[in-house]
């Protein structure tokens, strides 16, 4: 047994190392000066330690604007997605209508259609609507992947709730909308929060659509903006790392608060990997 315990500890340490080293590397680089990076000084821990990259990133680049664009897009998409996914998830899980099973399969299939297939025709559709080069393009296109996924997740959550509760509310004279709002939604809150966070994370991290649909540098989101920084100015490694750290922090913080629900949602839904 002792050998197994030792093997477990070694295994855990190895996995933790594999996961943490890349995070540590970008964080440490974000606090190094240009000279430290260029001449490979103080490789492991930045000494002296500098905030210069963060200051430069904030004052000299369009990063704050990109951050704002990303936040606006992610919040709008999350709101749209949560409302639609709650209603359609409820409908598929609870209401009896012909073709219900077919709708459930269709939602799943829509989730599996890869963006790589859709970006060119979607671009044309958005161009015809005159919506390219604006955040509206992203707010319209991101729900094509967030809604099917979150609906699929919520169908599972709604199905897991006992139907008797809702029936009791209906017998007591509540309308269906009241039953949904007062009884079912509060109970499904963990699932809805998980779905909302998935929607937020997926939109916050999205790259391909934003790259294709937006050309104006002031309308970019963070992932595309970062990609621009590499080729735009090859000297600012530290700023790029600082930007990566700033972008990762909100998602990681959100995730720490709701880790348990997200992992349950993940196990329930089957997510991209």
């Amino acid at each position: 047994m002792r050998a197994w315990k030792a093997a477990t500890v070694v295994g855990l340490a190895a996995f933790a190392l594999v996961v943490l080293v890349p995070f540590w590397w970008i964080t440490s680089m974000s606090f190094k000066t240009y000279e430290q990076i260029q001449f490979a000084q103080s490789i492991y821990v930045p000494r002296p330690f500098t905030w210069e990259n963060y200051r430069g990133l904030w004052l000299e680049t369009r990063f704050p604007l990109w951050l704002r664009n990303s936040a606006v897009t992610a919040i709008v998409v999350t709101a749209i997605t949560t409302v639609i996914a709650c209603l359609s998830g409820y409908a598929v899980a609870r209401l009896r209508f012909p073709g219900r099973e077919a709708v459930a399969s269709l939602i799943l299939i829509l989730y599996l259609v890869p963006p790589a297939l859709l970006f060119i025709p979607l671009y044309r559709v958005l161009a015809e609507l005159g919506a390219t080069n604006s955040l509206a393009a992203l707010c319209l296109s991101y729900p094509t992947f967030t809604v099917p996924f979150c609906t699929w997740l919520l169908i599972g959550f709604f199905k897991a709730l006992p139907a008797e509760l809702e029936e009791a509310a209906l017998v007591d004279g509540a309308t269906r909308v009241q039953a949904l709002r007062r009884v079912l939604l509060p109970l499904a809150a963990p699932g809805i929060v998980a779905a909302a966070i998935f929607a937020f994370t997926l939109s916050w991290n999205e790259f391909l659509y934003a790259l294709v649909f937006i050309q104006d540098e002031r309308t970019l989101t963070v992932p595309v903006g970062l990609n621009l920084l590499i080729y735009g100015d090859v000297f600012h490694w530290g700023q790029l790392m600082a930007a990566s750290v700033i972008t990762t922090v909100p998602v990681v913080t959100l995730y720490m608060f709701v880790q348990r629900w997200m992992v349950e949602g993940l196990a329930a839904g089957g997510v991209k990997g």
């Binding site: 996995f15 859709l118 044309r124 319209l140 599972g156 790029l240 991209k272």
Partner: protein, 274 residues
């Protein structure tokens, strides 16, 4: 219905475009199957197909193996299991663009920027830096590693959930019958995980074969066409060469595979729900 429209309409437009010679700025003309035939004869497109298969096969294979190892380790962890599960999931919630940038620097040839070169030189194991990303094999290995790093935690967590649902009595009975650790793993754990294994592998094949972000950010398909895959080549042809018809056709070439895989995944996932 709205969403069906938002996906269904572009999808049918995609099929239509693939039968035209649409160039940006010119009206489209019907050319029948010419795009398909052109690509079937095209050498760089053949490289793209091979690259996509290598990229997908290698990443999925690595993810399954390390995912299993991670699940076994977490399953055997007696304390702080949820903490470590959360910690190990971090790559999976990080933006793929940031992951791709990070691994680009990790493999960078300059010692101060590239992690591997810095550490190996510092430890005296290397006398001069290696330019990993400059060779076709090295670049492919780098994109596979980045993709693997992002994906394996999801596999590990899924397999852990699967292992936790296997009844403990099975293991006890097997131990009583004298089965060793390896035989217990082979005859109890793996069959118990069969369903999860199938779902994770199929899902990941679908998303990896169409992956864009990691390859685009790390290598832009280079050096040459050494890491060009379906999605990046489609983007390159559509937005750099401005041949939309042909660009769409490249993406559509991956559709037969999707048509074969999607019903399998849906059936597996729907059965889980029933």
């Amino acid at each position: 219905m709205l969403v069906v429209g938002l996906i269904g309409y572009p999808f049918s437009r995609a099929i239509w475009l693939s039968f035209t010679d649409k160039l940006v700025g010119y009206p489209e003309r019907w050319v029948g199957l010419r795009n398909y035939l052109y690509l079937a004869e095209d050498d760089s497109f053949r490289t793209v197909v091979v690259n996509s298969l290598v990229f997908t096969g290698a990443s999925v294979g690595l993810k399954v193996l390390t995912g299993l190892a991670m699940a076994l380790v977490l399953h055997a962890t007696w304390r702080w299991r949820n903490f470590f599960r959360g910690l190990l999931l971090l790559p999976w919630i990080t933006s793929t663009v940031i992951i791709a940038l990070t691994w680009r620097w990790m493999f960078d040839a300059f010692p101060g920027r590239g992690f591997f070169n810095s550490v190996l030189l510092d430890a005296g194991l290397l006398s001069s830096p290696i330019a990993f990303m400059a060779t076709p094999g090295g670049a492919m290995a780098a994109v596979v590693v980045a993709n693997w790093w992002r994906g394996f935690p999801f596999f590990g967590v899924s397999y852990l959930a699967g292992m936790q649902s296997i009844p403990g009595e099975l293991y006890e009975a097997a131990s009583v019958d004298g089965a060793g650790a390896w035989r217990r793993f082979w005859h109890i754990t793996l069959p118990g995980l069969k369903h999860v294994l199938i779902v994770t592998i199929l899902l990941t094949v679908i998303f990896t074969i169409n992956d864009f972000n990691i390859v685009y950010v790390m290598t832009r398909g280079g050096p040459g066409t050494a890491t060009q895959v379906f999605a990046t080549y489609s983007y390159e042809v559509a937005f750099n060469q401005l041949r939309w018809g042909r660009g769409v056709t490249i993406a559509i070439y991956a559709v037969p595979l999707l048509i074969a895989l999607i019903p399998l995944v849906s059936r597996a996932l729907l059965r889980e729900r029933a």
